[in-house]
């Protein structure tokens, strides 16, 4: 049967693609080094946790009461007192110089007013240039202010402080270690970029170099071609998943609570989706440059920002939340996070997993439909 799928032809294409990859050692080295670099970058260098906000104080009051307030701030994990100033101007200048993010000004009559029960104001100046951080800083100041008030009241009224005592428990990540989140996110980014980027050149390159004309004069079938090109890249992708997982464990003690097999399974479906998306671009655009640019542009930033890796999807406005469904990385990250930290089983992941599968199947169909092994 001439129309049947041939494993031999598939294997031939796979071998050829592997040889291309091995001969371009520089690209291969980058593909392998990428997850490690990302992990180190995120693990050591980047920290989105808002802790130790650099803060300056102007204490005109200089009383035990004002010192109590200052120690409330300094004692919390959120603020770190960097400087004491005497002049309001200096706070603004320091903010402009990006030395501090907040400045707290305690009035001269602070203690006096507290003790005679008249209204007291504490003013804070915060850097609003980064509004998100600014809002958090503002909320933290108010939260700490509330705690200070409670202590003050308790002291005045001779109560033991905090009748209701909050016992915080962070499940899945007791110590709130942000690096635990890294492995899923980084795996996704590396995967999206490497896979769709590498895949996006493969077919276009053959058209541009003229090798396609020779290749399609043979009995090779579409599926043999697309699979043959996807499988070697899949191997690199899976290697990247493993590297990221092991490096995460070794460098940052990221726990893997669920089934490792489930990680591989999810990564496989995800990689299929991304690889065939790249192939689709390559097939549809027929130009390396164009396919590649679109692959990177639609890969890197959306995966970083719209996937839930850095910014929680639940916090986004609804229309944007809907847009995030377009990016399979969203499901991948969420599934991986659940497997890693929550240790949940397959039944819990079913919905997200189905989305991912649908996406992958869609991409396979699209890529194969678009591929024409003819010169028309």
């Amino acid at each position: 049967m001439p129309d049947s799928f041939s494993f031999r032809r598939l294997k031939a294409i796979i071998v050829k693609e592997f040889l291309h990859i091995l001969r371009d050692w520089r690209s291969l080295a980058i593909a392998i080094a990428m997850p490690i670099m990302m992990l180190l970058l995120f693990g050591y260098a980047l920290n989105i946790d808002l802790k130790n906000i650099p803060t300056a104080i102007i204490d005109y009051s200089k009383t035990p009461e004002s010192r109590e307030l200052i120690s409330t701030f300094d004692g919390s994990p959120y603020f770190k007192i960097r400087n004491y100033y005497d002049d309001k101007q200096e706070i603004e200048k320091a903010i402009q110089r990006r030395e501090i993010k907040a400045g707290i000004i305690i009035d001269k009559d602070f203690a006096k007013h507290i003790n005679n029960g008249s209204p007291v104001h504490v003013f804070a100046v915060i850097d609003g240039s980064d509004a998100n951080t600014g809002r958090l800083v503002m909320n933290y100041i108010q939260a700490l202010g509330m705690i200070y008030n409670e202590r003050l009241t308790a002291k005045k009224l001779n109560f033991q402080s905090s009748q209701i005592n909050m016992k915080p428990r962070a499940w899945y990540n007791q110590e709130l270690i942000s690096t635990f989140n890294l492995v899923p996110g980084i795996t996704a980014i590396v995967m999206v970029v490497i896979a769709s980027m590498l895949a996006s050149v493969t077919v276009a390159k053959e058209w541009e170099m003229g090798t396609m004309e020779q290749l399609i004069s043979t009995p090779v079938r579409k599926l043999e071609m697309t699979l043959g090109k996807a499988i070697p890249l899949y191997v690199i992708g899976i290697a990247d998943v493993m590297i990221a997982a092991y490096a995460g464990m070794i460098f940052f003690d990221v726990p893997l609570r669920g089934e490792p097999a489930l990680v591989v399974l999810t990564a496989t479906v995800f990689l299929t989706a991304v690889l065939f998306f790249g192939l689709f671009l390559s097939i549809a655009l027929k130009k390396q440059v164009l396919a590649n640019q679109i692959a990177i542009m639609s890969g890197f930033l959306p995966t970083l920002i719209l996937s839930g890796f850095v910014f929680t999807i639940a916090n986004m406005p609804l229309p944007i939340q809907i847009i995030t469904h377009l990016f399979p990385a969203r499901y991948f990250i969420s599934i991986l996070r659940d497997i890693y930290l929550k240790g949940v089983g397959f039944s819990m992941l079913f919905t997200h997993f189905s989305f991912l599968t649908v996406y992958a199947v869609l991409m396979i169909v699209l890529a194969n439909k678009k591929l024409k092994l003819r010169l028309d």
């Binding site: 980047l46 100046v125 915060i126 600014g134 909320n139 939260a143 009224l157 989140n181 590649n292």
Partner: protein, 370 residues
């Protein structure tokens, strides 16, 4: 000299902008991404779905729950009956937190004793969990204070904390993220497009014919750089216009200063990209290398991840990141209205980067074929 340069420029621009798909990549995609991303980037946590496991079922626990719900930070999604149920809800991500009131909470409070309330947060997003704890503790403090007044019959005016945000009174996050995304887009488009500029001609073979013409090395380099510089400026202008139309973002500082810092920024990227291009053998290699560089540049720039939070050695490393200076100066002009004097450090570094990369790239580029 100018003639040769002009010929080079016309050719490059035509090649770049002839294909409508390419025009889309150069001008369209950055704009669309800016629009979508700007909305998506928020660290603000509100309407956090929580569940309540109330073994006390008293007016006290009810009051605390009510306080949470009306704070705007939390949204009570459901009432659970058992800890297992709570776990299930957290496991499948239905809620991001849970409050557990033990039996006898009200009784202890009335007796003036201490009562523990367990606040459970989903720790997978550690940052969100931290925020949940801090909001929760302020709600509980407020309750405690009011409770003390109620028990003693006394009242007191609490200290009021008023914060004023500089540069962005309403703390509207777009004022930060839109200019930030613009600097990011400048980085991505200039580096990616330019990094294949020379290697592409190498791969196709057209470079041989050009190198045998009397076109000077600098004319060639400038001819390769300037079109991307021009499209970079155009793209930036389009993005700024859209930022104004869609988000009401106005450049606070002078347009001249903005033009200066944007230009310097683009130039340093272009120099680097040309360096990559002349050191690569295939387009794929060039793009991978470009991406490999692009990632730390964007992540260490201080845009998404504050530099203050980085370890000291890394903070020093960020001095070498051109996007750091681009980001600080461009957002500085747009948001803070900073002038050349305020941005002198940034501008000096930018000039340094631009000169270094461009010189190195032209040094590296040879008009022979080895």
């Amino acid at each position: 000299m100018l003639l040769k340069l002009k010929a080079m420029l016309i050719k490059e621009l035509k090649q770049m902008l002839r294909d409508p798909k390419m025009r889309m990549v150069v001008l369209g995609i950055p704009t669309i991404q800016m629009l979508v991303m700007s909305f998506a980037m928020t660290l603000d946590v509100k309407n956090i779905n929580v569940t309540i496991l109330d073994f006390d079922k008293s007016s006290t626990t009810y009051e605390i729950a009510h306080k949470m719900n009306s704070s705007g930070f939390f949204k009570i999604e459901s009432y659970a009956n058992s800890l297992d149920e709570v776990r299930g809800m957290l496991d499948n991500g239905e809620v991001r937190g849970a409050i557990v009131f033990e039996a006898g909470t009200q009784e202890k409070i009335y007796k003036g004793q201490k009562a523990d309330v367990q606040v459970i947060a989903d720790g997978t997003m550690s940052n969100d969990a931290g925020i949940i704890f801090s909001y929760m503790s302020s709600i509980i403090s407020e309750y405690n204070m009011q409770n003390m007044f109620r028990l003693t019959g006394k009242a007191d005016t609490p200290v009021e904390f008023t914060a004023r945000a500089l540069y962005n009174e309403n703390l509207d996050s777009r004022f930060y993220y839109v200019p930030g995304i613009i600097t990011m887009m400048i980085l991505v488009t200039s580096i990616l497009l330019t990094s294949i500029a020379i290697v592409r001609e190498k791969e196709i073979g057209t470079i041989e014919q050009v190198m045998v013409t009397p076109i000077g090395k600098f004319e060639f380099i400038i001819g390769k750089t300037l079109p991307f510089f021009i499209t970079g400026i155009i793209t930036t202008t389009i993005m700024l216009t859209i930022a104004f139309l869609a988000f009401d973002i106005v450049v606070k500082g002078s347009i001249f200063t903005l033009g200066l810092v944007v230009s310097l920024n683009i130039l340093s990227y272009l120099g680097l990209a040309l360096l990559i291009s002349s050191a690569s053998y295939t387009q794929q290699q060039a793009l991978l290398t470009a991406f490999f560089i692009l990632m730390p540049f964007s992540l260490l720039s201080g845009f998404l991840f504050p530099i203050d939070n980085m370890p000291m050695p890394i903070q020093y490393l960020t001095y070498l990141d051109p996007m750091r200076w681009g980001f600080e100066s461009i957002t500085g002009v747009i948001i803070k209205g900073a002038g050349i004097r305020e941005l002198s450090t940034q501008i000096q570094w930018q000039i340094g980067h631009a000169v270094f990369f461009l010189t190195f790239a032209s040094f590296r580029f040879r008009k022979t074929m080895e």
